[in-house]
């Protein structure tokens, strides 16, 4: 089965607000203005209401309550608003348990948030990748979204074959999915994002997060790959096969990654756990 067949076949695609997709599309632009963010959000009353509630939650500790989107964007800045909106927009779809992965409720969501903050640390640490923080956060957040779709197609037979390949043949999770079903959760995620008309870079970052592209220049998938590895190493590895993730040797070589650098990255990821907890309470 190909990724496109799978996305077409599965009945329950994650419900996502158009306003949130519009915001993700804005990331393609070199600079986003507060006005554009406000404009995108105003089309969605429910999301706007949730956003204002989140802004007024104790997590932000604002002295004066925020009562409009304009005010929220002005006070918190559009980066912060983007993080909150993405959290609100994708959180409800991603908190579901995925029995086919032995992933409990909230676990995929927490892993997505840890990877999102890890991606910010990656672009800070590897500044030569020249990726903006909000873009990194977004692709980290969405990298495993294909699991929501693929898990619906994973019959018991598929699951046991995947387990056999991982446990006995040293396959990674993604490799085992591909060998068994013909596609993997990364490709399926990319297909889903494409069907939502999200920017090509973001689709690439999700679709290749297990097989990052380095040539002719490192693409955004290098960020998702490293962020995912770092999140796993900081203990965010849901599922029975949480560590069946293959590290791409070419990324290690091209970016001249040393053990010390990895260790420092993991320290940074650990430091973001409080922020992740804040996002978890918001969604």
């Amino acid at each position: 089965m190909t990724a496109i067949e799978l996305v077409n076949k599965v009945k329950n695609l994650p419900p996502v607000s158009n306003a949130a997709l519009k915001l993700v599309s804005l990331l393609e632009q070199p600079a986003v203005s507060n006005d554009e963010v406000v404009h995108a959000l105003k089309c969605d009353n429910v999301l706007t209401a949730k956003l204002l509630r989140a802004c007024n939650s104790p997590y932000f500790g604002l002295e004066e309550p925020v009562s409009s989107v304009d005010q929220a964007v002005f006070i918190l800045g559009h980066q912060q608003i983007l993080h909150i909106v993405l959290t609100l927009a994708f959180g409800s779809a991603m908190v579901v348990p995925l029995p086919a992965y032995a992933v409990e409720a909230n676990e995929l969501w927490r892993h997505s948030l840890v990877t999102a903050t890890a991606a910010e640390s990656v672009v800070e640490s590897f500044s030569n990748l020249s990726v903006e923080g909000p873009v990194a956060f977004t692709v980290g957040l969405l990298h495993d979204i294909g699991k929501l779709v693929l898990s619906q197609a994973l019959t018991v037979e598929y699951q046991s074959e995947i387990r056999r390949l991982v446990e006995q043949n040293n396959f990674s999770r993604a490799e085992a999915e591909k060998a068994t079903i013909g596609t993997d959760h990364a490709e399926v995620g990319a297909q889903l994002l494409q069907s939502w008309h999200l920017p090509e870079d973001i689709v690439e970052a999700v679709g290749n997060h297990h097989s990052p592209l380095l040539k002719p220049r490192p693409r955004l998938s290098v960020v998702t790959h490293l962020a995912n590895c770092a999140a796993h190493l900081a203990g965010s590895a849901p599922g029975w096969d949480g560590y069946a993730v293959r590290v791409n040797e070419d990324v290690v070589k091209t970016l001249a990654i040393t053990p010390d650098r990895i260790d420092l990255l993991i320290v940074a990821v650990r430091d973001s756990f409080d922020k992740v907890d804040g996002f978890m309470t918001m969604s």
């Binding site: 590895c229 190493l233 965010s236 029975w240 560590y243 069946a244 293959r246 590290v247 756990f273």
Partner: protein, 172 residues
Amino acid sequence: MTPGRTWVIAPPRRSFVVGVADMVASNDANADIITYSLGSCLGIAIYDPVKKVGGLLHIMLPDSKIDAAKAVSSPFMFVDTGVPRLFHSAYDLGADRNRLIVKVAGGSQLLDEKGIFNIGERNFIALNALFALKGIPIHAKEVGGVSSRTMRLDLSNGNVTIKPPGVAAYPL
């Protein structure tokens, strides 16, 4: 008050949760110490069966030299700064070094041929080196693999259980 039947209801067992880069030591025999999502991190449980004193440490990285500030602010993040504090916390509660039972779990590995990301292995090597230096034996261990683990220490008897996702807990 009318005399009646006396009901004895055991109080619920307490659970102390150890976060990532965190440690708990206790002499409360009515409690468990538990840590979740041990991946490449290591869980180190120690227990003195006579004093019913135990501790559980969840370390992330082998060596604090990479970040001097973190070594002070989060000593439980590293093998070299965390493990001595775990043992001393147990000694402070009356544990005897020669009676301590030491169990270790975690150290899962990403699939990484070159080994740059093999923090699980580096953690375990650092722990073994430290234990060898101090003459401390490991009584049981489950290290490596591709699953994360939940580790629980029962302070009433020192039993340690391991639970990977989707599998029932089993003793270590």
